[in-house]
Symmetry: C2
Subunit: 149 residues, 2 copies
DNA sequence: CAGTTGTTTTGAATAACTCAAGACAACTTG
DNA sequence: CAAGTTGTCTTGAGTTATTCAAAACAACTG
């Protein structure tokens, strides 16, 4: 089942004008399974299939794929850099303040007034980023349990 | 002129239930003059008036003041943590992608639909954060000049 | 299949930040 | 106004995420 996807991933890489290498396919595959992963998590995910890989290689691949537009890099305050394959739509993220879990949040379509600041102070605005902070369901349960004791 | 402000800053600290110390007053004063400064910049700003200060002391003061609610800590992707005194209003920031300069952006009052995500996926949303990315006037000029050559 | 270009490996270095223990100063109480 | 207590600052070292550089290596081109 991996192989099927791998061919598609290889095509994706080729279309982006990148050489197809094992580490790159592995990283893409890992991020397909576990989005919002940091470099170390990706490294851990690709290690079984690529025993000779190093963390630095993962950093290199992530940087290359991000530059090529295949990955999106997000850097929530307090966390290390996370990567995801979902690109092209400007969706947002919600981060759990308890466990740092990240989840995608769709932007309300055709309804993005925050993307145009009232006064940009002479800046030319290129992109807008929205991050939400809250508590994920799991941590809510945990907190409720604790307060119930 | 500093002394006048210092008394006010001391009061601010006292009102927040914090002990009034020279490093704290100096840090508050520095951030009044140069907002959106990182720890190192603050350190450089307070060093003349407090020759014996260390960077760690600044980190400690910044953390204490942030916890007390006197400072707001912002962590734009790619930059180190920045601090500002403007708190209480949830204004946003625009960061220059060229020089990392930061500027405040007022939120459109009573007009914050982005603060309520369409689907929070079970998360309890506490706060929303909006960051803009663009090019500051200075860097625009620099870029225009370059392309005109 | 050989060559070129670009990628990965290996090793080390950097920067931002944190932790811990003792010295010290600020507010409180008598 | 002096002494005590509490909390802050100083000093020093350590951690983590990330980046840099050079040599070994593999992928696409013709």
């Amino acid at each position: 089942m991996e192989t099927v996807t791998d061919a598609a991933l290889a095509d994706t890489l080729r279309e982006a004008g990148l050489k197809v290498t094992e580490p790159r396919v592995a990283v893409l595959s890992a991020l397909t399974d576990i989005p919002h992963s940091d470099a170390d998590t990706v490294f851990g995910a690709v290690l079984p299939s690529l025993p000779g890989t190093s963390l630095q290689a993962v950093y290199g691949v992530l940087a290359a794929l991000t530059t090529a537009g295949l990955l999106r890099k997000i850097e929530p305050a307090g966390s290390s850099a996370l990567y995801e394959r979902r690109i092209g739509d400007n969706h947002h993220h919600i981060v759990c303040t308890e466990c740092s879990a990240v989840r995608d949040v769709d932007c309300v379509v055709g309804h993005a007034p925050c993307l145009t600041p009232s006064d940009a102070g002479g800046f030319t605005v290129h992109t807008a980023e929205v991050n939400f902070w809250g508590v994920c369901p799991d941590c809510q349960s945990a907190l409720n349990q604790k307060s119930a004791d």
